[in-house]
Symmetry: C2
Amino acid sequence: MSFLVKPVLHTYFRSSCTWRVRIALALKGIEYDQAPVNLIKDGGQQLSSKFTDINPMQQVPSLEIDGITLSQSLAIIQYLDETRPKPRLLPEDAKKRAYVRMISDLIASGIQPLQNLMVLQKLGDGERLGWAQSYITKGFHALEKILDCTAGQYCVEDEVSMADLCLVPQVYNAERFKVDLTPFPTITRINQALMELEAFKVSHPSRQPDTPPDLRA
Amino acid sequence: MSFLVKPVLHTYFRSSCTWRVRIALALKGIEYDQAPVNLIKDGGQQLSSKFTDINPMQQVPSLEIDGITLSQSLAIIQYLDETRPKPRLLPEDAKKRAYVRMISDLIASGIQPLQNLMVLQKLGDGERLGWAQSYITKGFHALEKILDCTAGQYCVEDEVSMADLCLVPQVYNAERFKVDLTPFPTITRINQALMELEAFKVSHPSRQPDTPPDLRA
C-alpha cells in the first residue's frame, strides 16, 4: 500500500550525496516529491529540530519511502535497488558487486566526507581550498588506478552501477574546487560518458527546483 | 579452486576499519593469514609502493580472497556475507537491511573518516583531540537517536549485523579519544552486549599478532 504514496526526497541542489540518489531515482523511473533543505540559509535549515527528527545526522539526503525514512545515500540506493530492481545498479556477479561497492565506498567514505561543507566550515578561509583539493587529488589517484582495472565504458565494465552514481557528483565537486583533472584520463572519460545519459542530466545541481536562478543551466 | 587458498588480511591492530573485517571473519569462522601493515613505523608502511599496489588508497584493510584483492571494509564484509552467508550479517528483510546499511554508513562515512589518523596528522597538536571528540560526539548523538528506534539486543533488533561490526570499533575509538559516553546509554549497552561475544574478543586490537607487547591484553 505504501508503494502508492510518492516518495519524498529531502534534498539540496548542490549536495553531491543527494545527487547520487537523484540519479538512482531517475534511472529507475521512480516519481518522487522534493523537500528542499537549504544548507546555507537561516544558518543551515538541516539544523532545525523538524529536520533533525527526519535525519538526526542533520545531513541530506533523506528519503521517505514505503513507510520508512532512510538516510545515507548508499543505503538508500541499495534499498531502491533491492525493492525496484530495474535497471539494476549492482551487478549480479558477487565479485563485480564487490568492486562496485569498493569504488562507491572509496568515494563515499574516503573522499566526500573530507571535503564536505561541515568540515570546510571548521577550517580557516585560507585553508579550505587546499584541504579539499588535497583529499580529492589523493582519492582520485587511487581511483584512477582502480578504474584502470575495473572499467569498461563505465566504472565497472559496461553497465551503469552505484559506483557511477558516486563518480559523477564527486567529479562535479572536484571541478568546483578547481582540481586539475589532467592526471585522471579514465575518470574524465567515464564522467563524460555518463553525462551523456538523461538520468545524470535531469538530476544535475543546475536543474533542480531549489537551484538559485543565477546557477541554473 | 581459489576457495582453497587461505585469504590474506592486510591489517593494523589498531585500525578500527580493519577490526570490522576481523569480526566478520571470526563470526563466519573463516581462517585467514594476517599481513601486518604498521601505519606509524617507517613513516607509515601503507605508503610503500608494494602496499600501494595492493591498495592504491594506502589504507587498511585489504583482503586477498578468491583470486581478487578487495579494499573498503563494508565492501569486504558484504562480499564475505554474499559468498559465505552463515551467519548472515545483513537481515533478510529489505527494510531491516537498509537500517543496517544506514547505521554502518553513518559510522563509516559520517564519523570514522573525520577522526582517522591521516586527517588528525594534518591538524596541529592542540587541535586533534577536540576535533576527534566533536565529530564522534555529534555522530553518536545521531546514532543514539536512531538506535532507540532500531535496536533490540544489538543495533538492529536481536541479530548481530554489519552495523554492530561498525559500532564496537567506533566505541573503542571514542574511548581512546576520551569521549564522554554518559549521554549514550543505548550505544553503551549494545557495545557491552557485543563485547561478550567471542568473535569481538578475539579480533580486539589488544589481541592481534602485531599488537605491541605493552598494549596486549
